[in-house]
């Protein structure tokens, strides 16, 4: 029959399933902690000493939620850095296309290229100061950049027009970066959902 410490460690592993490496490392560390705490209890050795050690440690779901919140913050920081780099590269690529094409900005593609980029930049700057963990703001920025880049590529008709290498390279760079940014935004969404589940009050007792 497993004791309170074994049950608790198994429960913590389940709650930390979103990060298997962390779950493995923390399970051993927490087990050591709980055994030390139980051995220091006057009732040791007894199931009561184990139970008290587990009680003093706190709910496994709440511990896992704190790790999840920290993971969201780290992921959000990475996503913002990627967004900033993507904005810079997209701007450079857009300017290179403008210089190369020297075309009519009143046609739809250049307008979308320009204003979708401006919209993404504006939302990004506002969100940086006011809603740094906002998935919606990041998704809007991503949408704006995708629209701007797509319009830019359509506008220039890069491959058909025999664009110079620097224009092609900058376009490839912005496409690659927007791909990485999409990956980060989707990952952040997943982390936020998992954190919300861990913090749902009605589920607190399940973690113990």
């Amino acid at each position: 029959m497993s004791g309170a410490i074994d049950d608790y460690v198994a429960s913590l592993r389940r709650e930390l399933a979103f990060d298997p490496a962390l779950a493995g490392r923390l399970a051993s560390e927490v087990e050591d902690h709980l055994r030390d705490a139980a051995e220091a209890d006057p009732a040791w050795p007894s199931p009561e000493a184990e139970r008290r050690a587990v009680e003093r440690f706190g709910l496994s779901r709440e511990i896992a939620a704190q790790f999840a919140i920290d993971a969201v913050d780290r992921h959000a920081r990475r996503t913002w850095i990627t967004l900033a780099v993507t904005v810079v590269v997209t701007f450079i690529a857009m300017r290179l296309r403008v210089i190369w094409l020297d075309d009519d900005v009143l046609s739809p593609a250049p307008l979308i290229d320009r204003y979708a980029f401006i919209a993404a930049l504006t939302v990004g700057v506002i969100a940086w100061f006011a809603f740094r963990r906002s998935l919606a703001a990041l998704a809007i920025c991503l949408g704006g950049l995708v629209a701007s880049i797509s319009a830019g590529i359509v506008r220039a008709d890069l491959f058909a027009n025999g664009a110079p290498v620097h224009v092609l390279l900058s376009a490839a760079g912005e496409v690659a970066l927007v791909g990485v940014l999409s990956f980060h935004v989707i990952g952040l969404g997943r982390r936020l959902r998992r954190t919300a589940v861990l913090r749902r009050p009605g589920l607190e007792r399940e973690g113990q």
């Binding site: 560390e29 902690h33 055994r35 440690f57 920290d70």
Partner: protein
């Protein structure tokens, strides 16, 4: 309120030398004479966060007659951060003291 200062308290608990999670909690309890009654597990997310930030380092150690334990140590950046946080806390607590005492004059 304590949670906002937990990172600094953990850094201070490691100032005297490397320690494992259980010893850190015991140090915090002793220093606060039982005033800080956080769930013991709360210290682990803080340790992990501080390690990720480069303020702590950790390694598994096995004493001759004991269990394998992960031991945490302050890094140089951790010592500097502790100094900064002490100064910030000192300024903040003086300001609160002044604000609270002001009404009595």
């Amino acid at each position: 309120m304590l949670k906002g200062h937990l990172d600094a308290i953990v850094l201070a608990a490691l100032e005297a030398g490397p320690a494992h999670g259980y010893a850190i909690i015991e140090t915090i309890k002793q220093r606060s004479a039982g005033t800080f009654d956080l769930p013991e597990g709360t210290v682990y997310p803080a340790l992990h966060r501080l390690e990720q930030a480069g303020l702590l380092s950790s390694a598994w150690t096995t004493p001759p007659n004991g269990r394998r334990r992960r031991v945490y140590s302050l890094t140089k950046a951790g010592s500097a951060a502790l100094g900064e946080r002490r100064k910030a806390w000192s300024r903040f607590s003086q300001a609160v003291d002044t604000a609270l005492e002001g009404g009595r004059a």
